[in-house]
Amino acid sequence: MLRRTSAAFLTTVTATTLASAIVPAGPAAASTPAPLACPVEETYDPTSISKGWFATAASSAWLAGPGSISYAETEGASFSGTFSVGWTFSASAVWASVSTEYNVSLTASTTYSKQWTYTKTVPDGKTARAVVHKRGAKYTFNKHRINTNCSTSSSYNGSGSHPYRANSLSEYCIALDTFPATDFQATTGGCTDH
């Protein structure tokens, strides 16, 4: 406790001394300490990541097996990511921090149009749909801020779900999704029928 008080005192003294050096001498300047002035700085701290595959909107209807679903049409498979954050933030700065920490490049949304061709069988007792998936990641992050008065504050528990910026065909796959819908499949399971 004593150390904290001393540190605060020293900081104040230092700031007052600096202010005295740049403010013209006079009665007002001498009696009113100048406010502390720090440049605002925000940094983001990614805390976890789960890489995998997101279900796009390109999907068949649900089918109660036994049966099969086939497809051979040209269609765009689109996926738009989302943030779940209760405080202000910069998306590009968050993605930059995730890129540095986990070596993945994220973006807000992707779309890829091609003739998707597949046949998927749904066994007896299962209800499933065929879904085009896009590679991406779910992640969490915190924010740390240096305020103008040189105090610091932190905000916690931000999260995001976004596709990888890479958008070649290898970033997509088609898999069977068993009811109820799964919107994300971790890479550990691969992009497989589930």
Partner: protein, 194 residues
């Protein structure tokens, strides 16, 4: 997702078209221009054009809810008749019922293709006979699912389309949605294809 599969077969208007009328009331003109008139394209399919193949058991009734559509006009649409289109006439395939159910929010999961008719109580509670039903504009009800009950008596059947006759703003229209459903009698319990 929106794989548009609508084609107009015929349509008629009750009034002759004339030259646009001049008006000095800009607000009236703006209002008329902003409304979306009822046309043969007012019912828009949201179905992805996958092909479904389903072997069925004895007396089993398939609920085909793959067709999801919306009313893109600003006028309520009144359905007069719904008719599945069969390749080869459909002899040996019984249509048990044709129902319509609203999908009011993104959380309302479409029925898809189930092996019971009605597929579940939740759907049965909100569905009604398609013929005579009113399809509200998408600004009021997000979308609707059309659920057709099929029972295979003999043979293999290919449903290639669904015709809907409807009336909106005192004009009669007929549209056909493409569909790709194959139904047959199951040869053994593990069959996933016809």
């Amino acid at each position: 997702m929106a794989a548009l599969a609508l084609s107009m077969i015929s349509g008629c208007t009750s009034e002759e078209e004339g030259p646009p009328k001049q008006t000095n009331a800009p607000s009236t003109t703006t209002s008329a221009a902003s409304s979306r008139p009822a046309t043969a394209d007012s019912l828009v399919s949201l179905e992805r054009r996958a092909a479904y193949e389903i072997p069925t058991g004895t007396q089993e009734i398939i609920a085909d809810g793959a067709l999801v559509f919306k009313n893109s006009s600003d006028f309520p649409v009144h359905i007069r008749k719904v008719k599945p289109v069969f390749e080869g006439g459909g002899s040996g395939l019984e249509v048990v019922g044709i129902k319509i159910a609203p999908l009011r929010s993104p959380g309302d999961e479409p029925t898809g293709i189930q092996r019971k008719f009605p597929p579940n109580k939740a759907v049965a509670d909100r569905w009604q006979d398609a013929e005579g039903a009113t399809v509200e504009p998408e600004s009021i009800v997000m979308a609707y699912e059309l659920i057709i009950g099929f029972r295979v008596q003999a043979g293999t059947h290919h449903v290639t389309g669904i015709q809907i006759e409807f009336e909106a703003d005192n004009v009669a229209f007929q549209s056909e949605f493409s569909h790709n459903l194959t139904l047959c009698r199951m040869e053994n319990p593990s069959s996933t294809a016809c």
